[in-house]
Symmetry: C2
Subunit: 123 residues, 2 copies
């Protein structure tokens, strides 16, 4: 008989139900890739934090992050554990992500990044 | 017969296979919660970025993040999509997380945060 495999203990339960990271990286003006902060991500981060709190979304954490490396498509954010990326441009876009994705568990396809949104290769 | 449910399109494939966020929040000296940066997280972030590159870990992204709100247990980092949290204190701890979790897909139980590691309630 085969020896039973030793099971690894299960991972702890998720600490946050949804963890949002908003890219707030800023490159110097004129950089060919641009940057999320130069496209206004800091204001969107601030807005999203305030609105998430006002909506009383439990288990949702909104954080800023360093460069998420999809600069060309910024402002970008990613929601884990599902790993879904968005490119909100306005507070209304942020509201839609909060209501549709984070409150209702749906998706906002018009704002989602896809596998086609990849930066040009580095030279 | 019931109407078939309209299936939502599947989410795009993960852009990163593993996305690491290292808390680099700094509170003023003497703050009762302390902070990850005050406990040396910035050096650990720098080290982890360099080592991940040197090891050639494909699909792994290491980012800094704002306050992850588990300050008492810092320096903290979280790895998504699995949502596993660690509290590395030294470069050797970071090496172990890189080798065991990110390269081999295992866990480093001695450095993991669990559901018992929760901040005291806010007063």
């Amino acid at each position: 008989m085969e020896k039973p495999a030793v099971a690894e203990p299960a991972d702890p339960p998720p600490y946050f139900q949804a963890h949002v990271f908003v890219c707030c990286n800023r490159r110097p003006d004129g950089h060919p890739r641009g940057s999320c902060a130069a496209r206004g991500s800091e204001k969107l981060r601030d807005y999203m934090k305030v609105r998430a709190k006002e909506l009383g979304l439990r288990g949702v954490r909104v954080n800023q992050a360093g460069c998420l490396d999809r600069c060309e498509f910024g402002p970008t954010l990613v929601i884990y554990p599902e790993g879904v990326w968005y490119r909100p441009e306005t507070p209304a876009d942020v509201d839609e992500i909060l209501a549709t994705h984070l409150q209702a568990g749906g998706r906002v396809p018009r704002l989602m990044l896809t596998e086609k949104d990849v930066p040009p290769p580095k030279r």
